[in-house]
């Protein structure tokens, strides 16, 4: 597999997870979570610490990264979000509160890096996680394993939301909290679970992202616009839309830039970060409700020549 494609798959899988987490949190708690940035960075440092201190492949530390992100999510919910939700805080207040939480986490990450540097004699401020990776079928193992992990995780999440009683209750609460409460569903538990899953997805995504780029304490800060871009591209009201949006934005950054640089020359590489955002703007202009708002079944029917009575 070409290196750009391998990195593209890793990065896109990571963005799919993080954008999915942002969408889930927005749908359930109306909170546009800025702390996703530092939660992602924390996921990377959990995996880095494991690899640097105990050795082994990074993948074995991914469950730990998920759990750590889930813990950060729970702290955010009980420390901030829950109180603001109960007071009927506006979306902007909810969003800005997570920005504050993000800055606190960023400070803690910096202190932790100082500890790793001066206490354990490590070099945590510019890390290439690919040195801990191995080859699989002649390519980076991460380019195969991480997309697979993302697919398995998303499938498990889908089954949880569709097949389990609590998963359906989560969907019910997201759609109509008043009726869900009157039905006996404790919305507190639903929101906490959203933060567990959303925080876990952020850290898992951050840990995966570090396999395609240099890991730094501000890694989450530099990639948060793309996480949000993925969530917005997905339409913000569909978990699956957010996941797809994250994947499209991630692939656009790698595959799009590669294709354009072949066509127009290497100067395009300088605009690498602008290309996925331009793509997002273009898609949103044509489909204002994002990828989830596109009538896929009708489009597919038109392409295959089949007539369908209703659009998706």
């Amino acid at each position: 597999m070409a290196p750009w494609l391998a990195s593209g798959f890793i990065y896109a899988s990571a963005l799919a997870l993080t954008a999915g987490g942002i969408t889930l949190l927005y749908m359930s708690t109306r909170t546009f979570n800025f702390a996703h940035a530092s939660m992602a960075t924390c996921g990377f440092y959990v995996v880095y610490t494991g690899c640097a201190l105990y050795g082994g492949a990074p993948y074995r530390y991914l469950p730990l990264a998920f759990l750590f992100g889930a813990l950060l999510g729970v702290i955010c919910y009980f420390g901030l979000n829950r109180h603001l939700l109960r007071r009927g805080a506006a979306e902007i207040t909810l969003m800005m509160s997570t920005l504050g939480y993000d800055l606190i986490l960023l400070s803690v990450i910096q202190m932790y890096c100082d500890y790793l540097t001066f206490g354990l004699r490590l070099y945590p401020r510019r890390v290439s996680m690919s040195v801990y990776d191995f080859e699989l079928f002649g390519t980076k193992a991460a380019s195969i394993i991480l997309p697979l992990i993302a697919i398995v995780f998303i499938t498990a999440l889908h089954l949880f939301l569709v097949k389990t009683k609590f998963g359906v209750a989560m969907r019910a609460t997201i759609e109509n909290p008043v009726l869900a409460g009157a039905s006996g569903i404790n919305s507190d538990r639903v929101y906490m679970t959203s933060w567990i899953i959303g925080g876990g997805m952020a850290s898992l995504g951050g840990a995966a992202m570090a396999m395609a780029m240099t890991g730094t304490p501000v890694m989450g800060m530099t990639t948060i616009p793309f996480m949000f871009a993925g969530a917005i591209l997905g339409g913000l009201h569909s978990l699956y839309g957010g996941i797809l949006g994250g994947f499209v934005v991630g692939m656009a950054e790698y595959a799009g830039v590669f294709a354009l640089s072949k066509q127009f020359g290497p100067w395009v590489l300088g605009y690498r970060m602008g290309i996925p955002l331009l793509l997002m703007v273009f898609i949103m202009l044509v489909f204002p409700r994002g990828l989830a708002g596109i009538p896929w079944a009708a489009l597919f029917g038109r392409l295959t020549g089949k007539k369908r009575g209703v659009s998706a």
């Binding site: 359906v168 969907r171 009726l179 009157a182």
Partner: protein, 253 residues
């Protein structure tokens, strides 16, 4: 069964209800009627812990429930069917029934869902369809079925006849009366189809601008020419019988 004492409530800083007191006796239908904006829905929302209660008290079976979260009230046996958004549109009919029976055991939910589809056969036909695809009348049926799923002691029904064709609305009214007569459920019924609601109701309250104007028997309000004519648009010859007229409150919500 349910007592509301001197309730002052609203949303945020906006007060809607002024010193409202009502008594809902067990195994009967208590009807709350009044013009638009009178605060009927706010009364139910205050009982369910959705609106803000500024002062006053709500008692259920003698125990205070003021300001308790709605899922706690559902556990106590209070069922609420809101006027709008009373089904989960993106879930299937079956999922809606299962969510309504969220606090019940799996076998009990299955059994009760079968009962509901027998009571409302139209739901059986669309059991795997998303609720968003149902007509207005079918959605109301589903909403009532959801309210009944958990064998409630008390049902709060908000404007069941909204958006319904007259023939369907009449069927829903008969269904409400049947819930009392056959299942012995206590019902607090907020309704704009005042005449029909008062005909099936036992006790009635007239709510105007956030304050009570009448408390007494439903048939008495129905035959009270001044109030029924002025606020409910019911024109009938006055009939005898005691009527309790409550002095106008100072509220204007």
């Amino acid at each position: 069964m349910l007592t509301v004492k001197n309730l002052n409530a609203g949303y945020g800083k906006l007060q809607v209800l002024y010193d409202v007191s009502i008594e809902v006796p067990g195994k009967g239908i208590t009807v709350v009627v009044g013009p638009n904006g009178a605060g009927k829905t706010t009364l139910l929302c205050s009982i369910m812990g959705i609106a803000n209660v500024f002062s006053g008290e709500v008692l259920f079976e003698g125990a205070p429930i003021t300001g308790q979260l709605s899922y706690m009230l559902a556990k106590k046996g209070i069922s609420y069917v809101p006027q709008m958004g009373n089904v989960f549109a993106e879930l299937t009919v079956m999922d809606n029934l299962q969510m309504a029976g969220y606090l019940m055991a799996r076998d009990e939910v299955k059994h009760k869902a079968e009962q509901m589809t027998e009571m409302f056969p139209v739901l059986k036909k669309f059991i795997d369809r998303k609720a968003v695809t149902l007509s207005g009348g079918e959605r109301r049926m589903l909403a009532v079925a959801m309210g009944l799923m958990k064998n409630p002691k008390l049902m709060l029904l908000d404007e069941l006849s909204t958006d319904l064709a007259p023939i369907i609305a009449e069927r829903v009214m008969l269904e409400v009366a049947r819930l009392r007569d056959e299942l012995g459920i206590t019902i607090l019924f907020v309704e704009q189809m005042a005449k029909r609601a008062l005909e099936i109701g036992d006790t009635a309250y007239l709510l105007v601008s956030g304050g009570l104007k009448f408390a007494g028997k439903a048939c008495d309000l129905l035959h009270e020419p001044e109030l029924a004519g002025l606020y409910l648009g019911i024109k009938q010859a006055p009939a005898g019988g005691p009527v309790q007229i409550i002095p106008s409150s100072e509220g204007s919500g």
